[in-house]
Symmetry: C2
Subunit: 222 residues, 2 copies
């Protein structure tokens, strides 16, 4: 049986990927991994655990304390706010570290290696807003090569959302039967449940559901 590991943040995209993996590999062959890197909104970790449980797959949460130590020099630079706050100009937490996705995938690959799992699935996309260079297809391909060489493994990284718009991701979620799980996901940059509805992440999510002509189960559930 080929096994698969989904990097699950508890958000819309990684939840869609979880159902993509279940569809492709079977629910008994899939597990999920989540990283506790000191994110401001602890609800993310709870959402990931809830989504995994709802989908019937195991969820392992691994700590990473390094980003907070690296983040924005917040610990040493009095001009930077405490790590974990959001930068208004970018909407990113100032614990954001360049190449963070490379770290997530490398730790996930190490876990996969230890558990004889040959497939990694991540919800990164180079369309829409994300634009992080470590989420682009050629970066993921280069990392896959480094992981295969560095671990002497045949690991494959799957990025089912790489070239989809938000509208198409919502349609994929519908086709995979992932919509009910969307009620347990989070997206809001402000960490609010019900979501604030006005931050860039809420607006982008709303746009995707609207263009797909589908009601967002997260909002319906409130």
């Amino acid at each position: 049986m080929e096994k698969a590991l989904v990097v699950l943040s508890g958000g819309q995209d990684s939840t869609t990927c979880l159902y993509w993996a279940i569809d492709r590999f079977g629910v008994n062959a899939v597990e999920s991994i989540t990283f506790d890197y000191g994110q401001r909104h602890r609800t993310e970790l709870e959402c990931a655990a809830t989504v995994a449980n709802f989908a019937g797959v195991a969820n392992t949460c691994l700590p990473i304390d390094t980003f907070a130590a690296l983040g924005g020099d917040a610990l040493t630079d009095p001009g930077v706010e405490v790590a974990g706050d959001v930068d208004d100009s970018t909407g990113l937490p100032n614990t954001f570290v360049p190449g963070r996705n490379l770290i997530f995938l490398t730790f996930a690959a190490a876990y996969a290696y230890q558990h004889d799992i040959g497939h990694l699935i991540t919800g990164v996309a180079q369309t829409d807003y994300s634009g992080y260079p470590d989420c682009r297809e050629e970066t993921v391909e280069a990392l896959q090569r480094a992981l295969r060489l560095g671990m002497e493994s045949g690991i494959t990284i799957h990025t089912p959302l790489m070239h989809l718009s938000k509208k198409e991701t919502v349609e994929l979620a519908r086709d995979l039967g992932a919509l009910p799980a969307m009620a347990f996901t989070h997206t809001c940059y402000n960490g609010q449940r019900p979501p604030c509805g006005t931050c860039p992440a809420c607006l982008l999510r709303a746009k995707g559901f609207a263009e797909a002509g589908i009601a967002d189960p997260l909002l319906v559930a409130q």
Copy 2:
């Protein structure tokens, strides 16, 4: 001024690399980074700080708590001893995680990015005993590509010891004026100072110095 960051473990090889970097970039352009990943022998961290101080460069120590969580399932599997102990069959700590060097270099690259440093130096070698697949040249080259793409940077990873024998590494240390600093390094798998002299790491170090016809300053200093 081109700046350089040395991944410094406090051992013989990374100390040689520190002096290689100082020789090439100038002492004022070099700093060092060390990872506290829960290694059993805390003396490693002290050695790294002492070596950096002796060489006149800054040393930043970053925590990584993830390896202990991943390591050998020690936290959940009663059949595995507590993380940090050494596996007798391999001489490796059972906190060893596949691809660990990829993680070190990626975090180092993130730090370098934040501090406008364009050169990373690591003491990995594919000769002699190491044989870790994540220390091989083609792995490092693949990772360099992933880091450049993932961080949109022009970072260069230097591996001055990649093809040297232990004898040649000792000769390089001599030529770079790094021998005095060797008195502050550690190598012993058993974490002893003075070193035990009988573990595989002590024996390999002794062989390199013997073949180069040079007295080991660590032993002379005792």
